[in-house]
Amino acid sequence: MNEVKQVRIAEGADVCFVTANRFKTGKAHITMAMPLDGDIAAKAVLPFILRRSCRKYPDFTSLNGYLDELYGATLQAGVEKLGEAQLIKMSVGAIDDRFALDGGSVAEAAVGLLFDLFFDPKLENGMFTKADVDIEKRLLAERMMSELDDKRIYAQQKCVELMCGEEAFGKNRYGTLAEIESLTPERVYDAWQSVLKTAVIRIVAVGSSDTAEIEKMLVDRFTGIERSPSKITTKFIKKAEKVNYFSEEQPVKQGKLVMGFRTGMGAKEDYTSAMTVMSDIFGGGIYSKLFLNVREKMSLCYYCSSRLIREKGIMIVQSGIETKNEEKARNAILEQLDAMKSGDFKEETLKASLLSLNETLRAYGDSPDDICAWYSAQLLDEKLKTPEERAAEFNAVTFDEVADAARKITLDTVFMLTGTEAGGNEG
């Protein structure tokens, strides 16, 4: 992958440039990290309000019309969770100047627009308008509800919420419905100000644009903003004391089983590459224990997989199953975990996992969006790591380290969404 150049812009704000000529698209992402507490809903609605308009393009239609003129430039807003940080994100993508039909710089205009949206929004009397806030709060509430209509996401969120109820991580990244419904222009404005002043900010730009020009634009924008970045920490719980079990009935055709595990991490620094490899062998790829046994051998499901959330030190296993097979599936999953703990997995599966992890890492460099995502996700880390450096860490993991990592895992919470007779169980 191409070299990355990191430049500090202000206190707690930097920009990473990856210059590459092989792409036809240039991309820029802004990621702002705040603690996952306080007025979560106001921070969550912020990127969507900012994506609506700016002083220069004061309405949704004129802004989108301008994007179309910039050859269908893409503009996206989003909110994510990274450990117990709430990430507020905006990104822009545009074709490289050499493909413009009538000359002119598309990429620079697009990056300039992104900064306009973020630093120079549409305000009336120094305030976001009530009309804009009202629309965006409805959209945010619908975004949240609609996401939960996906039963797979619903069951997973429910498990995390129950497991981490005493931790910030248990909160929805959009806030609660009541918090969203009570939003006011003042609260959104305050959130914008506190993000400008206290968020940890990273911009990543990929493409062939003039980096000096973008750097200058950014320095100008940050001039006059008094920065004092928040300290963002995540609470880690090493070990589950007992297993909590919850279930909920809904008229669905397929049941969803979700199991949440603690992975023995007491702090961010306790993370080891062996834990990622362990989770991958357990329930990652087509060579994994869960795929080969719970799906292929036992025919219990279409999917059964595990995912490590390293920034929080937990691992989540999910599967879509027939409600009546719940116990069978749960036992099968735990049996496979026990096998991992006692070193009952093949050396060749470890090899397969490492090959697959290497392939995934090598693919990052082929996509401007993935390169942006790679460096954005590291905004709270001390030092930037390239995909190659991560690959080297994985490749050093040994068989015994994987088994050791498995032995640190304890089951914390089980959540089962069960189907009722009305919805399923026919056939």
Partner: protein
């Protein structure tokens, strides 16, 4: 063996087209400064192929057979394809859609070895009654899973409301009942009919070279004796089965999809027609249209609102849909806006805006090796070259689009599908 090179100066891209002596068509786009390569081995056999032709007579096969066969092809007598790919690290998968089955992998290392596995396992069917039975459990759960997905249900309900006869209305994976009828013999029969290399295509895009591809193809492809499978063109009545269909599911937000069915006289749409309809959709209902803004402000849609031109062999419709707290009112507004445009036509400025956007999006596509390979397949199955779409887009006029607008989006041929929340749950 003749190697054709197809170039596009403006994009600075080119690809090779080869008719291999085995009967297989091979398309390769080399991107030497990329790390990965994506390969697609596809057959023209999808869920709409519910019949096998034998001497001019069409015989029915169970719904969901194409998808079932896709799952089973990964198995073999000795070592399964997944196990073989595990040894190379490639990310391998497969999917079945309405009009094709595709076997794919992405890799940065061991390309030749991976291509060999791909070509070999797809050419080596092995089915037994026992392994067929085992798969019925796994696919049964896949079918169940989709039954709970509102976005999937709203579309298949709409297809059921629009189409009387055409098998596009049948769920891709079939039903628990239909797949219970599948036997090893069914699978062998379908395999013989649809997996002839003359009915298939290999598309490769990325860091692999033409030599890499041909060396493996020459070695591994078995000469095909057959011919491409025939598809039966089922002429549909112009009007839908019903104008409205509703289902209740345990969801929070209602969902809708409004579909306009086209009265088509030939089975396939030309690329120019497709590009015209995409521009029409964007002018009427895209993010910068007055309709979009109005419905957003009236609370009738959210930013998930989207449109699609849904076409394939024997079917073509325009879809508009998303979440809505008032699906009936949303559909009414879209219908009214469509009528307005059909009467007054599309203006030069609106057209130019939408065309520029489409052009930019088509350029962006060439950054992604997976998309390139999939688009090579799309274009070939439609009988087009890969670069034709962007050329058509660059040369299109507002008159072309207005001419097309007369033929599509007829209100009499439309239907509305709605998913409503189950109350009191």
């Amino acid at each position: 063996m003749k190697v054709n090179t197809i170039k596009n100066e403006k994009l600075g891209e080119s690809y090779y087209e080869i008719k291999h002596p085995s009967g297989l068509t091979i398309l390769v786009m080399c991107k030497p400064d990329y790390a990965c390569t994506h390969a697609v081995f596809a057959t023209k056999y999808g869920s709409i192929d519910t019949k096998i032709e034998e001497n001019g007579v069409y015989r029915e096969i169970p719904n969901g057979t194409a998808h079932f066969l896709e799952h089973k092809l990964f198995e073999s007598e000795d070592i399964d394809a997944f196990e073989r790919f595990a040894k190379t690290g490639a990310e391998a998968n497969a999917f079945t859609s309405f009009d094709r089955t595709a076997y794919i992998f992405t890799c940065s290392d061991n390309f030749r070895q991976n291509l060999e596995i791909l070509l070999d396992f797809v050419q080596s069917p092995y089915f037994t009654e026992e392994t067929v039975k085992k798969e019925q459990g796994i696919i049964g759960q896949e079918i169940r899973m989709y039954k709970d997905v509102a976005g999937w249900e709203v579309m298949f309900n709409l297809l059921g409301a629009l189409y009387h006869e055409h098998p596009v209305k049948v769920d891709i994976a079939g039903t628990v009942e239909s797949i219970a009828e599948i036997t090893a013999e069914t699978l062998y029969g379908c395999y013989r009919n649809f997996y002839d290399l003359n009915n298939m295509l290999l598309a490769v895009a990325g860091s692999a070279t033409l030599e890499d591809v041909l060396e493996v193809a020459d070695r591994v492809l078995k000469k095909a004796g057959g011919k491409p499978a025939n598809r039966e063109f089922i002429r549909e009545p112009a009007t839908p089965v019903c104008r409205y269909i509703e289902e209740k599911l345990p969801v929070n937000v209602p969902r809708f999809m409004l579909g306009f069915k086209e009265d088509i006289k030939t089975p396939e749409r030309s690329l120019k027609e497709t590009v015209c309809v995409e521009i029409i959709h964007d002018v009427i209902a895209g993010k910068s249209s007055p309709l979009y803004k109005r419905m957003l402000e009236e609370g009738l849609i959210n930013t998930g609102f989207s449109n699609e031109y849904f076409t394939g062999f024997g079917f073509a419709c325009s879809f508009f849909g998303g979440d809505s707290n008032n699906p009936g009112k949303a559909a009414e507004e879209i219908r009214a806006e469509v009528q307005k445009f059909k009467q007054r036509g599309i203006g030069e400025k609106e057209f130019e805006r939408a065309r520029r956007k489409l052009y930019g999006r088509l350029v962006m596509m060439y950054d992604d090796v997976e998309e390139i390979a999939q688009n090579l397949v799309d274009a070939y199955l439609n009988g087009d070259g890969l670069f034709e779409e962007i050329e058509i887009c660059a040369g299109l006029t507002v008159d072309d689009v207005n001419e097309n607008l007369k033929e599509v989006l007829c209100d009499d041929n439309s239907a509305l599908s709605v998913i409503m929340p189950l109350k009191g749950e």
